[in-house]
Symmetry: C2
Subunit: 699 residues, 2 copies
């Protein structure tokens, strides 16, 4: 599949045949010397052209006064010059026909206005000359398999990378080298590492896009602080998912301090954390909360086949750890089905005293049975289709010689069940781990981390089965939003768009109100309508259950005088008279325009569950019926809609229909509408109804 693709426009970033270094240094320890040293030492097979007007030779290579003096084609230039010289260097590169630049230099947008101007200048040059730029202020690229060590990061000096299939793209260089270093220290293989710095052009999303079809990458790790082009990120994540490559992503800046720090660190928006999380899920990616978690999951994805279901079997040589792992499985949404009778019977024949179950605690008795552990595993694997087999092997793999016979039995098992995920848990000798890995096992010392990682892997596979594609933008001319400046107008607009509202009348006198009440039928509800009064209930502007003409007239006066007392400056459009809405559960339907990802839909229950318990879910607009249902199901409070404590189930179909239609409005009018709040939307046994609505336009 990948061989049929046209060459990716970032090919020359990751796979250049020749590279010029502007600002090359003879000192292999200096910034301008390190990349040359790293590439030479690692055995990079492409051509390296140091550029420096002061030297003929640099680190044993012929040096050139200018890029223009280099003979032949140059795929990529690395610029390591003071910021003020970079524009000229870019022009030279353009003249030489170099289309890919790594701009390591700092002193640009990250250092204020002047730097910002210089950054714009170099990007302008790049645009005019069809050049792509990584950086500025970036750590560069490391390609492990092609030995392209184009970075000045000292991480390479401390730790030599080993080749693997996991690639890492991060905005922050430190983030990347932290992940890199931890990965290398624990013996994980890596493929490519890239840090994008200021992202004046190439961003993390572009790199994910490249990795999605990169034959050298099977698993993608990434970290972002914000995002300037939400749709590009979504497209890249979806592309990776389509190519079956798991993406494990970190997004930092969730806390108040974190968001403040993110704003000082990069120019990009930290964004709404919950929205990011929803988008990642829709695009099949997994959000990791720590670097170690990210690496654990990536490691499992690289080592193991895709788990085809959530079902797992646990075999342990002792009960306590099995119980811990069962707790962890529940937290990670893995299932531990009961052992089939046939397995139970065979295991009982092997181990007369062990408590038969899942987790299967073999007890110490297993040591008296030749190949006892693997026999037990085989009995479970042969009688089930559970894709996940977790073995807690205590410290047996920490003693290489003693572990030898068991290791060979494990290999046989692995060959017999090639489609299963074998996770081996327990502190192990580093050499043994390497061997087990080469034979298709994943090995971790800590049981909880192992369960969490395999659970996340399964979730990634599930997410891939329900990807949300990017909507095609509104076709043709954009619709004009009518006046929606008060509740009546907003509801009437939503009604036109297919959402259910009550039949109601805006009245401007007690007489009108009384007449309206009679024609709508008693009892009625009355409430103030004014663009300036957003919290009607709190000023006493809503009175329910009015049962007579007299009560209606009196309510008219009461509401009006309360409004005048509480908000004397408000322009009052009138008082709305409507039939009582009936029984049901109050929910909140909302839309917001996320600065990164555009129109989003929000759903939550009324009352305290949104404000106090943050029990709210987001999805990108527009929604299909099934998306709407998934959104509703994400909210814990939705239990109240589904026949709570013996009460009748409510009309979820009416709710999801309203969500779908609302999402269409948010999406069709995203150029005008900033947010819609339908609070409450009453879900009844039959149908639902918008009881209040506020629509705000973009500022």
């Amino acid at each position: 599949m990948t061989s049929e693709l046209p060459p990716h426009d970032l090919n020359s970033l990751f796979e250049p045949r020749s590279v010029a270094i502007l600002g090359a240094s003879s000192d292999p320890l200096k910034l301008g010397g390190r990349p040359i040293r790293f590439m030479k030492e690692s055995g990079f097979q492409g051509k390296i052209y140091p550029v420096n007007p002061k030297n003929d030779e640099i680190q044993g290579l012929r040096a050139y006064p200018s890029v223009l003096d280099i003979p032949g084609e140059v795929d990529q230039a690395i610029i390591i010059l003071p910021a003020k010289f970079c524009a000229q260097a870019m022009r030279d590169c353009a003249a030489k026909g170099i289309r890919m630049i790594q701009l390591f230099s700092s002193g640009f947008a990250e250092e204020g206005e002047h730097g910002q101007a210089m950054q714009e200048e170099v990007i302008q040059i790049a645009r005019e000359n069809d050049m792509r730029v990584l950086g500025p202020n970036c750590l560069g690229v490391v390609g492990v398999s092609n030995r392209f060590f184009a970075t000045f990061s000292t991480a390479l000096e401390a730790l030599e990378p080993s080749p693997g299939v996991i690639s890492i793209a991060t905005q922050s260089g430190a983030f990347g080298s932290c992940a890199y270093s931890i990965a290398i220290q624990r013996g994980m293989g890596l493929s490519r590492i890239v840090a994008t710095g200021n992202e004046a052009d190439i961003d993390v999303a572009s790199c994910i896009d490249y990795f999605a079809t990169d034959p050298a990458t099977r698993v993608i790790c990434a970290a972002i602080e914000g995002c300037n082009d939400g749709n590009a990120l979504r497209r890249a994540l979806l592309k990776a998912a389509d190519h079956g490559k798991p993406v494990i992503l970190m997004k930092v800046g969730t806390s108040e301090v974190g968001v403040a720090a993110a704003a000082t660190h990069t120019g990009s928006l930290a964004g709404n954390d919950t929205v990011f999380e929803a988008i990642f899920e829709e695009c099949g990616a997994w959000r990791a909360r720590s670097i170690e978690e990210m690496l654990d999951i990536a490691y499992f994805c690289a080592q193991l086949p895709e788990p085809s279901s959530r079902r797992a079997g646990i075999v342990t040589v002792s009960g306590g750890i099995g119980i811990l792992m069962a707790d962890d499985c529940e937290a990670s949404q893995l299932e531990l089905p009961a052992l089939p009778d046939s397995s139970a019977k065979e295991i009982r024949a092997l181990l007369s005293f062990a408590p038969i179950g899942n987790p299967m605690d073999t007890t110490a008795q297993v040591s008296a049975v030749k190949n006892g552990v693997t026999l037990v595993m085989d009995q479970i694997l042969s009688q089930t289709d559970w894709p996940i087999m977790l073995l807690y092997m205590a410290q047996s793999a920490a003693a290489p010689v003693k572990f030898e016979p068991m290791k060979l039995e494990l290999y046989k098992l692995r060959e017999k069940y090639p489609e299963r995920c074998f996770v081996l848990i327990g502190p192990s000798d580093a050499g043994v781990v390497k061997e087990l890995e080469a034979n298709g096992f994943a090995v971790l010392a800590d049981p909880s981390r192992a369960v969490k990682a395999i659970g996340a892997y399964r979730q990634i596979v599930e997410r891939r089965e329900r990807l949300r594609r990017l909507p095609s933008g509104p076709g043709g001319s954009l619709p004009r939003l009518p006046d929606v400046g008060n509740e009546t107008l907003a509801k009437s607009f939503l009604h036109e768009q297919g959402l259910p509202v009550l039949q109601e009348q805006l009245c401007n006198s007690p007489d009108q109100a009384a007449q309206a009440a009679m024609s709508l039928g008693l009892p009625v509800a009355m409430k103030i309508v004014s663009e300036q009064i957003l919290h009607k209930t709190e000023i006493g502007g809503v009175i329910l259950n009015l049962n007579s003409e007299a009560e209606v007239r009196q309510a008219y006066d009461t509401i009006l005088s309360r409004a005048r007392a509480k908000q004397p400056d408000a322009i009052i459009d009138g008082i709305l008279v409507s039939p009582m809405a009936g029984d049901g559960v109050e929910t909140i339907l909302g839309t917001s325009f996320d600065p990164v990802f555009g129109p989003m839909i929000m759903f939550g229950l009324g009352g305290i569950s949104v404000e106090l318990f943050k029990d709210v879910a987001f999805a990108s607009a527009p929604l299909k019926e099934s998306d709407a249902l998934a959104l509703v199901d994400k909210v814990r409070g939705s239990a109240l809609l589904k026949g709570w404590r013996g009460q009748a189930a409510l009309d979820i179909a009416a709710l999801t229909d309203a969500l779908v239609k609302l999402s269409r409005v948010a999406s069709d009018y995203s150029h005008e509408i900033s947010s819609i709040d339908i609070n409450p939307f009453l879900v009844r046994q039959q149908g639902g109804v918008c009881l209040d609505a506020v629509i705000t336009r973009h500022m």
Copy 2:
């Protein structure tokens, strides 16, 4: 302090001067041979007496046909014989005057009824002869500093322990050796490790109690699956807290499968997980969720002084990791105050471009400043009293030679600020880590784990400042509980105990009800009273807001006929007429009798917050005023009581007073009361009131 204490009764378990091994084997690889080999190889200084009737000599030591043949005193015996021979071995040990037994043998309670009987027999022998027993079915004891390697665990064969101040007590042997092996693999020092097995006598709590005054232990790790003596566990945890020793505790068996597995694995109760967590907190202990988390926290406690507040400073060489750590600090309740102006000014003088803040991102500019990183740290430390200093040092500590100058500067800083906690973060060379540790630093590669661990350490210190002592049991004769079999009786009893209730009348005719309503004053509420009808509202047995005598009469008939229709067999005690309770927020006050820890108090908000969001907190009874306030503060929904969205604050003092009095009832009547449900307890602007109450007795 510890030197004044009398010798602990477990001294001869952990510090025997002489030990006999019954079932000693000449084969150093066999169960009966391993402990002898381990002790000999490790250099145990006490006397070792192998006992085996078939050999004169075992592994180079003189062997004895029976313990009775051993000359001189024997502090401890290790029994490694088939279960059926253990009773006789115990008798021999008793005759020899041995008071401490490690019973490694399996085949006891863990293997069913017959084993249970044998276990009872050996314990009976122990009781009669004033002997203590570890086990049966246990892995034994490892003392690293006294080289007492009295175990048959193969963990010792794989990994040689290094001495430290952390001791580990676990029920499950595998749990212990997993923690042991992970600790040793990561280079953590350990003091004592003990696995208690079936806990027929000595349990994890006894070991914690020992460690609390053990000079060789400064930090305690423990893992339990259940607990048979809740008060003993609490006393041990409190003792450790009183001696300033952090306890980090795991309790497994929280999931459905986990609890089921726990039940097959040990005879002890898995208990109510939330209750365990509340008790741990009251006793100053920290509950860890994974083995690695437990070890991380223990490591920080062992390495660092106690953090005197939650305030932390972060210094990083790059922004991204700083943001991640700021997010993690928020999650771990650590505070990142703004830098003092004086620090900011000095740092600005050093680093002209770096964004000044906390996290303090030095940017790469710091590399151009000699000792830049430590100078920045010094500027923060000298101008603040923040006890926690987190340094993300990228991979600099992974390159020992290059790190040398910075290391020396760090040591100076450490000496200058001996009372601060220095946490160094980043992948580091193992040798460098050892050195840094020897100089009082804690080092971890993953930023998130580091923040979590120091946050937990601070929480442990805070918990120690508000320990909940064990209540002294009810003095004198136990009070008799009157008849509380229906709502009226229950409320009247609670009223006698000082809890506020409405003045109300139980009526048996429409006339009586009308008369009551008139004397109480309209409007009134009416509800059915019957011991058989627990959910009054759901059968339509409650009518509120009755405004006239006629309405009251009619309501009487309506309620009665509904009750007869829905629950024809219920014995109806009458219909309660009470004044309307007024406005307020409905809360739930409850008590339960936990099988492990006795009477507990529960608090939550009414409505869905308890049932759907599990927003509920537990504490042990009885409560003081301040305990009650802390309990209320743990519930998120309590925000509704404190002036929610501009509403008036409610009478929290009335609520806590009710909780205190209720807790006293639960505690005084714990011999009779199984549970009390006050649902709802209405908290008003002035006062509160129990609107319903159900009291159940022990079955």
